[in-house]
Symmetry: C2
């Protein structure tokens, strides 16, 4: 793809106008929205309103004027992106804390099922948190196995299967419906981490019959650095599962100030402490900024951007580790190269921001909301030049 | 105290200029900073810098430019307010989540000690979270008893004594050194919830020999609605205690992306997920705005404001439930009245913002950073008129 061809494709792209909804710094090609989404222009006003009017002017009264209901309200705005009903999603805490809550809750469902099955090489916090969560339930055990051993590992002692829908390194995607069936066939629940898929590819939790999910607000939802995370529990499980981090905001009547905890109705019980409103408002603004954009159109353009980048990678001779079939991956592309760390540093130096993942992965987010074909073409040109500079150079030794 | 006398006291008050550091809406006397501190003027610029430059322009690069270290850096700014060393405090999650982590950690220290002792009527989230935390440790039990039964309840099965330094309703303060000794004499640890004392009264955790503490950023530290909370662990315990919510940000090397969890050094292990940077930056700005203010001067003025309000309450015939001796209380005042709910609604209608606490408590924060003697005099005048309106009216029945 030449630069002229890329510009022609941008000119013909019906999603091209969406780019104007984001602040994108001059001289930067931003291919890291899968790690931190850029600032939506509308967030500027929403943030100002939150700080200056809601906090500055209305002060404590804002709790009754929209803050108290924000976790459920913003959850309702995430629901259409993940195939959930509005009352199945709540925004609260971090992905890590939400994983903890749900893993403990799942393990407590049936004392005969004590094992959590996950994948080696899953996003670290999923495994780390699972390690901590299983220690909170008698007999609880985490068993992480390679992907090709997963199906056999799920059995009648499995309480929960914990999987990331899209892999943070390779972009490989699990078939959500098939793996949900596999868990259910063994009598287990399944918990999907949607951090690398929500807002990037179509997700249909209820269509797949999923049980639980968590996900991240700061990647494709553009909710700001460290944006609050979300938590989904299928309606059929909501009355049975309990939150181990039983804080006052999840109480049925938080302002009755009773000594005894009484779990709130529906998803309210998954709240713990007071919601961080500056962060909540930014996430809501991020969601509002893309509420009218159909995920199918994003996925189609993402696939086209991927194909263009993959072809350039082939021409450079880079090893692409993301699946070529769009149905089998998320919206980022990843290459392996022994000099990945140095190559990414050189790219960033030239204003092409992707990221390096230990030990040898170059990762580029191809977020169709604001990434265009010319961006991909320019990034590929820079990549080709930098890779050429590293040709014939011995790979670095292992990092001490 | 007449209005003229109050104005004269304000004119003579050396802390009076601090008021200009805060945004205070016209027509409002704000006596609820013990629930939500007002907006510091400097936070406006800090928030803009975070959103527009750090997020908007620097994007992902900001993680290396200050965001990753923010929990420890901001913790270090809280340390002088609580008598801790800078490396004993970290800012992360909510007070609720931090209570959960520390209670579980304390219970795991010695399997022979399975009981958490707390006070009935403690702030609800402390009891609710303790209820959830004890269920995560074999044999874990929460025993909440009235204050006068606390000393006898602490024994050789006590793992942890969990107390709020200042009571959220009555303002009554525990003698931190004496109760820490009482816990230690029985071989137990003590965890102080400082939410209603940090920034309001002198706190000396290390002077008292305390073990653990948590506290809130959105009250007297003016960190914004739902500001991140903090967590303190005395240096001597840091290597032994483990965080049950073992998320990737608490890992020794978060970006090594290893499958196995390895607890970070010092306080880093108490982190869980990605810090919410909009909220973190506002808390840091709140702390910076008062970093030069000596807590002793605040406490002295707070006591004078209290005495003025208490005298007005006496004249009105209100029953003050806060201790009269400043050494025995925090910085808010509280009265009981059968019509408390209606009285507070009428006060708020007139621009005097305090709060009502179920079932019959009127609570007023007397935060000396921005509350003056004229504010107290005017609030007392409005209160006198409204209470007079309720004289002879039958008290409401219990709320259904």
């Amino acid at each position: 793809m030449t630069l002229d061809e890329a510009r022609a494709r941008d000119a013909a792209d019906p999603l091209r106008p969406l780019r104007d909804r984001f602040v994108l710094p001059d001289g930067v090609i931003y291919l890291d929205g899968n790690s931190l989404g850029p600032l939506p222009r509308a967030t500027l006003a929403a943030n100002r309103d939150l700080v200056e009017r809601q906090w500055g002017e209305r002060l404590i009264r804002s709790w009754d004027e929209g803050w108290m209901g924000s976790p459920a309200r913003i959850g309702g705005k995430i629901a259409p992106w993940i195939g959930a009903d509005a009352d199945e999603v709540i925004v609260t805490d971090s992905t890590s804390a939400n994983l903890f809550k749900l893993i403990v809750a799942a393990l407590r469902r049936d004392p005969a099922r004590t094992v959590v099955i996950s994948e080696t090489g899953n996003f670290p916090t999923d495994l780390h948190i699972a390690e901590g969560a299983v220690a909170c339930v008698p007999g609880g055990t985490l068993r992480a196995v390679p992907r090709d051993a997963l199906a056999d590992a799920i059995d009648d002692r499995t309480a929960l299967v914990l999987l990331s829908h899209v892999h943070y390194k390779t972009s490989a995607r699990f078939d959500m419906a098939a793996w949900t069936r596999r868990a259910h066939d063994a009598g287990a629940l399944i918990l999907w981490d949607l951090s690398h898929s929500v807002g990037a590819i179509p997700v249909d939790l209820n269509g797949a019959g999923a049980d639980m999910a968590v996900g991240c607000g700061y990647k494709f939802l553009n909710g700001g650095p460290g944006a609050p995370a979300f938590l989904y529990v299928a309606e059929r499980h909501q009355a049975q599962l309990a939150n181990p981090i039983s804080g006052w905001m999840g109480h049925a009547r938080p302002f009755a100030f009773t000594d005894a905890y009484e779990a709130g109705a529906g998803m309210e019980r998954w709240r713990a402490g007071t919601p961080p409103m500056l962060a909540m408002a930014a996430l809501e603004a991020g969601l509002d900024a893309i509420a009218d954009v159909p995920i199918e159109a994003l996925a189609t353009k993402s696939a086209a951007l991927f194909d263009a980048f993959a072809a350039a990678g082939d021409a450079i001779g880079l090893k692409c580790i993301a699946p070529r079939d769009p149905a089998e991956r998320g919206s980022h592309i990843a290459f392996r190269h022994p000099h990945a760390c140095a190559i990414m540093a050189a790219l960033v130096e030239r204003g092409v921001i992707g990221d390096f993942r230990d030990p040898d992965i170059l990762r580029f987010g191809l977020t169709p909301l604001y990434v265009g074909f010319e961006d991909v073409a320019r990034a590929a040109l820079a990549l080709a030049e930098i890779v050429a500079d590293h040709r014939g150079v011995a790979p670095p030794g292992p990092i001490a």
